[in-house]
Amino acid sequence: MKSYLKYPWLLIAIVTASVAFLLTANSLAAAEQKPRSQAQLPTEDLPPGRTDDASKVIDDYFTADWAKAKIVPAPVIDDATFLRRASLSVLGVSADADEVRSFLVDTRSEKRRGKVDEMLRRSRYADYWGFRLRDWILSLREVEGQGANSFMLYRYSREAMAENRSWTRIAGDFINSQGTLEFDGNANFGVYFSGAPNEMADATTRLFLGTKISCAQCHDDPFHSSLTQQGYWGLAAFFGRTKMIQMNGGGAEYERLFPNPGRSEASVCSLPGGDAAVDGYGGERRAIVDVKEGEVYIGGRKPKNKDDQPLAPLPLGGEPIKDADQQTLTRRQQLLAWVTNRDNPYFSRAAVNRMFLELTGRGFVPTADGFTPDDSPRHEQLLNQLSQQFTEHDYDLKWLIRTIVNSRVFQLESSSQLEPDETKQAQRVAHWCSAETRTLNGDQWHDSVLRASGREARIWTLADKASPELKREQNRRLASRRTRLITARKILTETDKLQRLAALPTPDTVPPPIPREYQHFEWRQTDAARQAYDELGQRLQKTRGQARSPLGPTGEALMQMNGALVRDSLRETDVPKSIAALKSPGERLDAVFVQVLGRAPRPNERQSLADSVATGEPERVADLMWALMQTSEFLSY
């Protein structure tokens, strides 16, 4: 690809045409909700089992691809394996025993599609993908966590997923965020990067355009001729008039814009790990706002040499926008308009690639930010088709997940044996003709252990004991938030340009209170719970891509075998007792397998473990459950 993005000329037109369109985040959202054609009705309205069938696009592509490469793909997985894989992928936890049983006896031919639709409607979907979205943001920084309020960031992310906000709307909420760290989760996007224009620009390209530009911070990228230092800082100039303010050292401005903030949710609701929950944010009040003045030079907000000229905002591979500050839109809004433009294919491609990586472990490029200007992605034709459709479906993430999970390539068996011939093996991998097996991430492991032992598989509900005092505080906080927003709105209207309001929610759109089960967590109160937190390391708080925990493989295996989570899960539940009470050893064996692995035992397993639960003691049932929880089958998917 020679020119990085071919659409800079479009920008001016877009900017002019979309002033009204983009003036508020709400209008953006509203516009997206309009159905564009009959074909794009939300698929939930279709009868169960029927979709508009973009999955077929994937299937047709690979059928042709495999035929051409003369490869026989792996067989499609059985129902039990499908349920486990889909559940871990879509909900971040294995299915419970009852669900397994009813799914296995269901005889409807379209039951897999129906199950996926049902999963997408559960609140657990938002719990899990809220974590994913939060983790995508947190992992953008090499040194994670410092300065972020990860609770509020999660709060925002979960809400966005629960409402199934479009990916463009989410991009807008982040790129154009204004507000405080402790009340506005999306404002973490700016505050996390301390308001540094180049870091915000870098984060924008990695998260939303799927490409890294940071190598060009200090020099032209020697690997990619089109990426220059000028281009890097020119992109940063879009954030030249966005700034972080804080109470300490900038108090007056902060207090003027955000008076009487009250106590935030983050201080009311303590996450597991207490202070660590807010990741070094230490209760400091910080906010991200637009300001009227501000320039970016090569190297930062100040010129390095006295001849240096301020840079005009420069879209990647485009032309500088000389009159950016004469536009009605702020610089950031102009960036947003360019990033999320329907004709910008990179935005869609990055999202499609990211979701394939999340759901199948394979991407069109190796990482979520792995697109480069000079290399073609794998299976580019399919990527383009899906990106096109994702755009046409108004960047609907659930649609994308449904499309991938319903496709054949998601439902292939993993190859249990490596092809001895290396060339052949490489070819099989390149053509995605079997599934990629991955170890569970920390969230998936934690919740699946709880579920396998019959405990509530929701980390948030381990202790739900919000005191009356705490609830009063919640209500005070909400009231205070309303006042604060009204005041902030008023001040801004009086003194500044109207456009500043774009990212501030109106008082009417103040999100509903946090559900009760999210209000208070008492992990630190019990030794075992505290240790479970320790064991996961700060995994639940800070995650980095595929990294599972700060533990190495040895420490992780020790945790899985001897740790408090598994120990207590086997001890503090009635499941072993109720399974032990079943009549025959065969029934008991079946029950243990379904409970932990979500499938019936295979004949050889029945044989080799025939004596294991023959006597019907609960301890032996627990021992067998332990053994099943240690299998590579349980620990991967």
């Binding site: 090499e142 990695r206 040895t554 295996a557 021992d623 590579s632």
Partner: protein, 442 residues
Amino acid sequence: MACFKLQHAAAAGPIGAVTRRGMLRVSLGAALGTVLGPSLPRLFGGEGVKAKHANEKSVILLWLRGGPFQTDSFDPKLLGNDKLGLKFEPMDTTADGMQLGACMPRLAEQGHHLTLIRSMRGLEMEHSLASYYMQTGYRATGPIQSPAIGSIVSHELGPLPMRRAEPDGIPPYISIGGAGFSAGHFGSAHRPYLVWNPLRGGENLGLPQGVSAAAQARRLAWLTALEAGHPGGHGAAEQIHAGRRAALAFMQSKQRAAFDLAAEPADLRELYGKSDEFGQGCLLARRLVTAGARFVQVELGNFDQHERHYPTHEQLLRRLDRGMGALVRDLDDRGLLDQTTVVAVGEFGRTTLINKNLGRDHFINGFSVAIAGGGFKRGFVHGSTTKDGQEIRDNPVTIPDLLATICYDLGIDPNKEFNDQFGRPIKLVDHGRVVREVLASA
């Protein structure tokens, strides 16, 4: 702990050491000489590494989280300026001309073992960025993940030779009291094994409460039967199996006894501070390197006192003094100091001027590091700060310089290049200059 003591004797005893070292020299020399030709130093690149002792050495890093105040500890100044708000006068040590702050009496007794560098220069002012820089030698910019010094040492040297006969004993890199740092492009296998609390022993190393040995045997037998049905072959299963193999070997290894602090004489435990987690962490670190760990980090914090500096800071410095003083003495008594480098450093220092909240802020231009043992000089001070302690006067040492020097002393070429996760060649340490002045034989 008879087995442990035996092992210890063999490891430290001159006969065992010489024989093993000799054998190693012969076999390594023969292999390289016949197959590759060039001498070892040339193989490693420009720095001419002394590979002879390299394989016996280990490191104990006392990680002073939050940034300790140098002027009360390793770079004391005379009182007399009220603005500085200093509390501790300089105190003579057993080394000629070397003084320490008066709150460090026990380290003062070990002065003849110490190398002090008083002219450290940092670049990052914020904790997480500065910690990353001190640990990796790289500034946290861009998408590259760099390995921490513990991971570098673990990756380059692996376990100590004494445990090669039992390959899955103690992991080479252990972090006590803190989560440790990124293994960067070396991957998760080079992350540290974590010990959250030294008094509680190795994390998850023992069977869970209420699980008998018989039950464990039964569980493992069933697990073996279950896994036999699934040959694996794919990457995830391999990774899980390898982790479990190492974990089980670790659980069953003799070296596990190293975690049992109760095996130490009561007076020695007292010397380290019997109820102090940091002191006991130092003692555990000594036991672990004796049992074969290559790099042990013990964390002490939080030194970050921006308000009311003294009560907390003094307490922390006294704990450092007791723990490190005991550790250096103990290693010396056992004849282990030559092969064990003890390094005490935080991510930066603190301002000499006391602020309006009676606290001290972050300071990067002239803070100190204390080193004892290994190939470092004994009773030596390198670099100095100005009279008011606010600037470096001579011999500035950068953070990459420090890491390069530690690597060099261990026999690791700091300029060795690696391909990072994007396939680009990067050096182990970013442009560090080996500070030969602080090394005994360089």
